[in-house]
Each structure stands twice: as structure tokens, then as C-alpha cells.
């Protein structure tokens, strides 16, 4: 399988220590939680990303993240990878995260780039959902 060591490593750690790697869920109804869900079962990937924010000045900062992902090893690793990228960022900064950063961090092979695109989409959706609630 054309997986980089980084993907395998991230996948295995996430699988073996789900809590430590932010697998889980927040109550989507909470006002400070934004939920994004992208992909489709028939396509082989579904990512659900949740951000928990607190206000700071006139913006919001991502305090905590939870996710669940159905998909191949690269999809799971990509979701897990964005957790660290998100925590502590303002929503404006989080919006700037590009799939290429995820792909490079995990050394995704070209055939798996769509996993990073999906991960980027999940961030946008979660932020949109959060902002919609405010």
C-alpha cells in the first residue's frame, strides 16, 4: 500500500488512543459548538468535525476539537492531523488552512489528495455552522 510512514503512524495512534487524539463528539446543539460533516458513505469517506469556540475580543478562538471519520487510513489520518492545526486558532486563521498543508504534513500520495480536500471542507463547514449560530 502506498502509504507514507506518517499516515500509518497517525492512523495507528488515533486508532489506539482515540481520546488522546480527539475522537469523540460534542453536543451539536451547544451554542459554542460548530459541526461540519462532509463526504458520503457511497464514496467511501465521511468526516465529521466539531469545533468548540470561545470569544476573544471581537473574534472567536477554537478551544477544542472532536472528530469522527469513516474512510480509508489517509482520511482518518487527515482528520486527525487537522486537530493540532485548529486548536488555538481564531476562526479567521482556521479558514486559511489549505488542504495542501495537510497533504504535505502527511506526505499523502496523489491518489489520496481528496482526503485532504475533504478535511479542508470539514473545517469550513464547522466554522460556517458555528457562525450561523451566533
Amino acid at each position: 500500500m502506498a502509504y507514507s510512514k506518517k499516515v500509518i503512524d497517525k492512523f495507528e495512534k488515533t486508532l489506539n488512543e482515540p481520546e488522546k487524539f480527539n475522537v469523540g463528539r460534542f453536543d451539536p446543539k451547544e451554542a459554542n459548538v460548530g459541526t461540519g460533516m462532509v463526504g458520503a458513505p457511497a464514496c467511501g469517506d465521511v468526516m465529521k468535525l466539531q469545533i468548540k469556540c470561545e470569544s476573544r475580543g471581537n473574534t472567536h478562538v477554537i478551544k477544542d476539537v472532536k472528530f469522527k471519520t469513516y474512510g480509508c487510513g489517509s482520511a482518518i489520518a487527515s482528520s486527525s492531523e487537522i486537530v493540532d492545526m485548529l486548536i488555538g486558532k481564531t476562526l479567521e486563521e482556521a479558514r486559511e488552512i489549505k488542504n495542501i498543508e495537510i497533504a504535505e504534513a502527511l506526505e499523502l500520495p496523489p491518489i489520496k489528495i481528496h482526503c485532504s480536500v475533504l478535511a479542508e471542507d470539514s473545517i469550513r463547514q464547522a466554522i460556517d455552522d458555528f457562525e450561523h449560530k451566533q
Binding site: M1, Y3, I8, F11, T14, L15, N16, P18, V23, R25, M37, V38, G39, A40, P41, A42, C43, G44, D45, V46, M47, K48, K68, T69, Y70, G71, C72, G73, A75, I76, I111, H114, V117, L118, D121
Partner: protein, 408 residues
């Protein structure tokens, strides 16, 4: 956990088998100067005669396992070549009688691709749908027959599901209609008895490496009575009664012969052992919630078990089971990013098709291997479901078919 297992555990016997040590010995006896290395086509000296003797003995072993005359066996480089030779050979020879061929959607690519090629050459091919259980029924074959049908090519045992087609009933139809019947039996030898002296089959493909023989050798059965003619696809010397030229690969052929001789002798004990492993495996795995067996459980070989683990994606499951060598119905592992065409033909939803794993056992699988595999599966499925948003939705009672997904 038992210390007796060696990792990784091989659970992919349907893809290939290790060569039986007895077969390896036979092969190595036919390579070097002090061995039987001659060209079986050499008529002028003892080296050739001895090699020919070995090849003919091997031919008898193959014929003996499948109940035919040794003269009906043509050596090939494998089942893929045998399938090509049968399908193109019949099509080329009998095209003046008609240009319609019937096959199925769940055939191996070694059958489907030659059929596609013939379509480009002006033939018409009907691809039959399997029933829900992965079987091709005789009714489906009968319905598809036409005046100009010259060949039906249906596999015996499906390589992904292990389902067994009823050759007797399909062959009855082809005989009545005067249509040739080719069967890809690459997965059959040593698993189920085959008796070509009574089976209404005209051509049958075999492979050595699925039955503890070497890779790179196979055979095509071409019936003599009633006579079946095929047009050769490889020319150059007229070996194998003109049907397949090329110097015979003595060492591989004797390997196949020995493997099939052992298969004949030990099929009963092999099958018995594998049946008990299958039972153990199935009894345990069926306790996992939301799993689906692909293929008719009552009509399959016990060395193959294909299971979909709902709400878990197949490729991630294979990654999580890295100490177990298995195949996935999710072709995400290959370049095409598509679920198995066989499972789709069964009508399985894409997500179930891509969450499938084929486990296949064999002569060297131990009970400890099965125990270890089962514990890993339980662990991996639990963990991946904990990670799966779909599993969460399932537990929340959400019908996934009603969700509007954002497809890409």
C-alpha cells in the same frame, strides 16, 4: 494470546497459495544438470525422452484429479492464458456459426477482458447478473441464449465470494442448444470434486498456484468427445497438438502435476480441516453486530468467507488488521478507487461493498491463526466503529439512506 502464530498471518489463499514442500522438491529435481532438465520436445536423446515422460506423468495427474483423458489437457502459462485460449480460440474457430457469447458480471478479469476484446472485434457479449447470493442460474443462461450464441463462459467457484455455480444444470442447457460451455475452475481444484467424464462442460481452465503448485503454469481442458476445436493463440512449433506452441516448462508442469496429485489424495482431509476452521471463524465473527456475509452461505466453499463490516471502511480495516494478510472488496487499495464489481453486481450498496474483506484459508492455516485473527478483527472493528460517524448515527437510530450526503 498464543505464541504459536507467526506474524503476519496469511489469510489470502484464494489469491495464491504457498507451494507445498513436496511440490517444491519435485520442481527442483527438474532444473539442474544432475536433474531432469531436458526439453520434452527433443526426440533424439534420453534427456528429451525423460523430460517428456515427466510431463506426461504430470498430465495424467491433472487429468486424474478432474476426471478427463490426459490427451484433453493443454498446458498453458496459467488460468488467464487458459481462459484467453478457450474464449478467443472458440470465437475465432466458430465465428462463422455465430458471434454471440454469454458470460457473467462476476467473472474474473481473465474472462471479462478477452470478452471485451472480442466485442471490439465485432462479437456481441451478454453479461449475466448473478442472483442475490452470487450465483448464476441456469434460467438466466437459458434466457440469454440466441440462435447465434456460440459460447457460454461461466466460472465454477467465484474467487471473491466462494460461491459455487451449478455446472450440471447450465451445461444441460448448452448441450441442448449446441453451444460450447467454458468454465473457469481456477478456484476449484482440491476444494470440490470435479468429474469431467460426466460434467457437460467443453472447456475448463485450471491454475497451479491456487492449489499449492507454482505460479506461471496452468492448463486448459479441451474435450475430445464430442470434439471441441479451438484456434491457437500462440504459434511457433506446434506443441500441445498445435493448440499452444512454446517449449514446455517442465519444472513448472511437474510442479502442477505433483500439486494436483496431492490435491486428489488429500482433498478430503484438507476440506474437512478447512470446514472446521470456517465454522470456528464464522461462529465467532457472526456475533459482531451489523456484519453481512457476501455470497450464498449454503452454496459456497468453506475456504473463502467474504464479509462486509457495516459502518467501517474496508481499506482502514485492512490497515488496522496489518498483521493479517487479506483482500478487500474495496479497490481503494488499487488505482481505481471503486468498490468490487463483484459485490456491486450482487446489489450490495457501495458502502457495504467497500467495507468487505475476503478471508481465505488453506492447507497451512492453523486453529491458532484463526483465533488470533478473530481477536484482531474484534478489536479493529470496535475501534474503527468508535471512530465512525456512521456507526454513531446508526446507534442514534438515524437511517443513513435518508441523510442528504454531500457527494464530491
Amino acid at each position: 494470546m498464543s505464541t504459536k502464530v507467526t506474524l503476519p498471518i496469511y489469510m489470502d489463499y484464494a489469491s495464491t497459495t504457498p507451494v507445498d514442500p513436496r511440490v517444491a522438491k519435485k520442481i527442483s529435481d527438474h532444473l539442474t544438470l544432475d536433474g531432469n532438465f531436458g526439453n520434452p520436445a527433443s526426440r533424439s536423446h534420453k534427456f528429451g525422452w525423460k523430460a517428456e515422460e515427466s510431463v506426461e506423468e504430470a498430465r495424467s495427474h491433472v487429468a486424474n484429479l478432474v476426471g478427463c483423458d490426459p490427451r484433453e489437457i493443454v498446458w498453458t502459462s496459467g488460468a488467464t492464458e487458459a481462459d484467453n485460449l478457450a474464449i478467443k480460440g472458440i470465437a475465432n474457430f466458430y465465428q462463422s456459426k455465430g458471434k454471440h457469447i454469454i458470460t457473467s458480471k462476476i467473472e474474473h478479469k481473465a474472462v471479462l477482458d478477452p470478452c471485451r476484446q472480442l466485442e471490439r472485434d465485432g462479437f456481441e457479449v451478454t453479461y449475466l447478473e448473478p442472483n442475490e447470493g452470487g450465483l448464476i442460474t441456469d434460467e438466466a443462461v437459458l434466457d440469454a441464449t440466441r440462435e447465434d450464441t456460440i459460447l457460454v463462459s461461466i466460472m465454477h467457484i467465484n474467487n471473491e465470494l466462494g460461491t459455487i455455480n451449478d455446472l450440471e444444470s447450465i451445461g444441460k442447457i448448452t448441450r441442448e442448444k449446441g453451444i460450447f460451455f467454458h468454465v473457469d475452475a481456477a478456484q476449484s481444484t482440491g476444494k470440490v470434486p470435479i468429474d469431467l467424464s460426466t460434467l457437460p462442460v467443453d472447456l475448463m481452465s485450471f491454475s497451479a498456484h491456487k492449489t499449492y503448485g507454482p505460479k506461471g503454469v496452468g492448463a486448459l481442458f479441451v474435450r475430445r468427445k464430442p470434439r471441441v476445436r479451438i484456434e491457437a493463440q500462440i504459434h511457433g512449433g506446434g506443441h500441445e497438438r498445435g493448440m499452444r506452441s512454446g517449449t514446455l516448462a517442465t519444472h513448472q508442469i511437474v510442479g502442477m502435476g505433483e500439486a494436483f496429485r496431492i490435491a486428489k489424495e488429500e482433498m478430503d482431509q484438507d476440506v474437512k480441516k478447512i470446514q472446521s476452521l470456517h465454522k470456528k471463524f464464522y461462529d465467532s465473527v457472526s456475533k459482531i453486530e451489523e456484519i453481512y456475509v457476501n455470497g450464498d452461505m449454503n452454496n459456497k466453499v468453506s475456504n473463502i468467507l467474504n464479509i462486509s463490516f457495516a459502518y467501517v471502511e474496508g481499506e482502514s480495516l485492512i490497515m488496522a488488521l496489518k498483521d493479517i494478510a487479506v483482500s478487500s472488496g474495496s479497490a481503494c487499495t488499487s488505482a481505481s478507487l471503486e468498490p468490487s464489481y463483484v459485490l456491486r453486481a450482487l446489489g450490495r450498496k457501495d458502502e457495504l461493498a467497500s467495507s468487505s474483506i475476503r478471508f481465505s484459508f488453506g492447507r497451512f492455516t492453523t486453529e491458532e491463526d484463526v483465533d488470533y485473527t478473530l481477536s484482531l478483527i474484534n478489536h479493529a472493528v470496535d475501534r474503527l466503529r468508535e471512530l465512525s460517524p456512521l456507526w454513531e448515527m446508526y446507534l442514534d437510530g438515524i437511517d443513513l439512506d435518508t441523510v442528504e450526503w454531500q457527494t464530491h
